[in-house]
Symmetry: D2
Subunit: 321 residues, 4 copies
């Protein structure tokens, strides 16, 4: 009897990244095929091109805000949707090859986001250190590890690296300082991406992600767009502006609305956006990682909408109340 | 072969009222049964009680605003709807029995609305005259006429009357001054009232009349109610507040919205009101007397609504744009 | 040594009206000169013409809403302001000459407002009675009283009258039924009117009355006007539309806002109205009869406004926060 | 006679960056001291720490949107203000050491923003090339140039680089392909930063930049914030959300409003923000690079504000209109 095909998951690799932590929340390594990619765009495109069934990518960090590459890659191109979100706590360890002391460190390899998140610690303990940008959080760990196994390895261009805690063991490195992120509660929100298809049913605590272009660049247009949500009692949990890319002053908005696309109030707000805005892309309805249920304002439950629709049908048929 | 039944029309009589002018716009005297009533409430109740098929009543005057008795009588009680509106120009003639001179006039009988509309003329030419209130514009004309035919008629309590121009001939009176309304363009809007039933189809230039109670007495509640219209691009052509009657500070709003209840944007706005407001009564969709077509804002045509609904169905089925 | 002049108060007379009740709340008969007038317009004009120092007039009734004559008379013409408001409970007694029985009553003289407020009682106990309009609540009481003292008095044209309770004793009439108003809690709000001058200081529980014309007749204009209040956290306790009188479809709004014109938030809202609306008339800031203090929303106290003004001055001078 | 001190300008160096182009718009090299820095944060901090008088930094790019490092660095820390903005067209040249052919290129060093802006060209002509991130647009040009002058220089880790056009001559490199940015109209907006002090007078075509935190994370709070601008007729030309950094779901907004802080309407909007929002930072009023004058809506000119203030003073002193 044949084994069912395992789903293939593209993610920002290599081993030991925060993205791998997020992927492990979705599926353990023995129940899915892990396909590490060298950047977020490649992970997303792997699904578009059929090289993977799903992708796991970071979408928002406590410190840096929206992950630009993810937001922009999802906002345009072949359709993809978000199926689920996962929260991963973010911490960093400063690592080096055995024998390196903290006082020896002059150049640190780190992904720019990691560098930003440890700024205060670095300013205090290594004020003169130079940043050597890395393409991922674990790339420098792998370089150190490779160099240790290579006789006469050339200079790496750095003495130490900021890496996720689990990369320490993965790459057999020596920790020089642990938990050095400035914000002890830092977290990154990841999403599971897949091709569009049937929308999963509501869980009762859902989010809907949208990309919306405004009709023009006036403050009034943003107000009018937000009123499409407010009039139907739909709260927003995230709103971010992104340039549309063709000229300064034109913006696209990336929005998370509370509720599921099958909710009446969300549906009516979306129709309002569709009518008024030049472009609306649905990026999925999916359970919130924090399982917080939406606030349902007076008169905006599904039952209220159904009752209003039935009332309107009666009125159109001749009734008055 | 049997004759078709003529419809019975209740209206504020007697002969010669502005209301009769309005009724004549609806049906000539030989094609309907004219049932004069002595007040607006009786005319409206005649339809409720089956004594008439239709009623013609004033609903708004240039000078006095909403006709309170009509607005309140339609807002509560058994359901009735407005089927049509008619505009009637308003002018007044000062009349008396033959032999009375303008300089003899000390007391003038006039409906309070007529009195108000001739205030400036009266202040100038008859500054010391006293107002004797009448229950209708033609009641004093009838009284003068009756007295002329009655030997030893008692004193009427007034010397002259403000009456509609056509009452002069109807009652055989003597005009002392003509066209004396302060506002030469004054007009009154009348409505044709009937029992609810199938809503007449849209004419392309329609109005929808509503009664709406606010959820509470805050400015915010009125703003939120108006946004239900604004978000769907529905303009209002009239809004009047009326006390709800149980305490000071609680208001009902009488509203004319541009468009027909079968218009998508009007329907959605009505559903929004139904969900948020404690009471909404539909008082009819009917052609505007001035035949002005509504302004249709971008994204609010029926086609826009249908297209948005189809788009939402596609999105709920798995599409993204 | 000369006696101080007593102030002269014009009001809707004669003795026994609700207006007299309101006037007695302001000043007892021995401390002011009571000048009864035969209508509201005359009472108001008495102040404009210097025949009186103050006027007491009804402005809003539980049942009938705004008193049109008062609202319109204050909205135009020489400037006047409201100095105080008074609430008077409204009840009615059906009275007749001695010897008349309830079962004899065919025609009742009543001011139209009184008639409206007793409709249900009348429909139940005197369903066939005819309304004879009176110019005030006490006029028919005076007529009955006069007739009783006049041998061979002509027929009054009515058998009974609806009058305020205190008119029973004043005019020596016989009560046929007491407390017959449909709404046991009915009340009328009266205002004390005077010439403009120094605005009285805030009491801590004040109202500000305004007349505002909208820039055009769109729903959007009303929304924008209400936002001038909402943005500054000013609640409205009353809003009534009145036709401007020159054509159908143009409205003036009569507004009571919570707070005093010297409050910062009220002042800024008024300046906003002045900038955007073609006409704004201030009709006074005065203590509320119910002594309810305004809700002060976050960031809208006088201290908040002063602190914001100081902050702006600092920022304009070079500071950043 | 003593020479006046030249002002010192910190900017993202080294020679040949777009930032240098922007700096040259402000001051030619012989009239100011150019102080190249290795990142945006250092350039900004140089002013805070007194090492420079001014800084020139990128704030927004057509393609990437707000420059996160600049926005965040200005939003917190010691106060700084924007004195001027400069637009610089953005193009890229692919360069290499002499002798390298396009077909030899396997690894390209590029600043991540440069990489993003040439994506389509790279995907078409060098689909398999690997990105080696650089800390600035010119860093790799300098590395190639140094290596050319150094016998037995070690491998640079890349074969070619994306650099600004003017870096080609500056570093004596060989162009492999020119004008390869995907968007031919791409531009970057730079700002001149200095310590706060007297605000420069309005030019008639100004912008005001602000950082605003919302009172809470509801859609309603964003709406209320935008209404502070809309009610005073102030348009926004840019709005960007940034995470506040302490938890997911809390946002700071970076805003460019049309007009100058000394404009009445801008001042009143700022006071409104100050009253309602937990944090407002003024980042300067300065001439727009495009010299577009603001739209002044009806009733929002300085004269309108002054006239409203005088009117309010009159009303508070006893007038009514």
């Amino acid at each position: 009897m044949s084994q069912p095909e395992l789903l293939r998951y593209a993610y920002l690799g290599p081993d030991g990244t925060f993205t791998e932590d997020a992927l492990r929340q979705v599926v353990p390594p023995d129940e899915g095929v892990y396909l590490p990619q060298h950047d977020v765009a490649s992970a997303i495109d792997a699904v578009r091109e059929g090289r993977a069934d799903r992708a796991v990518v970071a979408i928002e960090s406590t410190v840096e805000g929206g992950v630009t590459a993810t937001l922009d890659r999802l906002a345009a191109g072949d359709p993809l949707v978000i199926l689920r979100e996962m929260l991963v706590p973010v911490q960093f360890t400063l690592v080096a090859a055995p024998g390196v002391e903290l006082s020896d460190v002059r150049r640190i390899s780190a992904h720019p986001h990691a560098w930003v998140q440890c700024r205060r610690w670095l300013a205090r303990f290594l004020p003169h250190v130079v940043h050597v940008p890395a393409t991922s959080n674990t790339a420098p760990a792998a370089l150190i590890s490779d160099a240790l196994r290579t006789p006469d390895a050339p200079d790496l261009g750095f003495d130490a690296a900021l890496v996720p805690p689990r990369a320490v063991a993965t790459y057999g490195l020596q920790p020089l300082a642990q938990d050095i992120a400035d914000n002890a509660d830092a977290a990154t929100r990841f999403v599971l991406i897949g091709p569009p298809g049937d929308v999963p049913p509501p869980s009762g605590a859902d989010k809907t992600t949208l990309v919306v272009h405004l009709p023009d660049n006036e403050a009034g247009a943003l107000l009018a767009m937000l009123e499409q949500f407010a009039t139907r009692g739909v709260n927003l949990s995230r709103i971010e502006s992104r340039p549309i890319g063709d000229s300064l002053g034109r913006y696209s908005f990336s929005i998370d609305a509370e509720g599921h696309v099958t909710d009446e109030r969300v549906g009516e707000a979306l129709m309002g956006l569709h009518r008024r805005c030049p472009y609306v892309r649905f990026l999925g309805s999916y359970p919130r990682a924090d399982a917080v249920r939406p606030t349902v304002h007076i008169g905006t439950s599904d039952a209220d909408f159904r009752s209003a629709r039935e009332w309107l049908a009666r009125v159109r048929g001749g009734a008055t109340t």
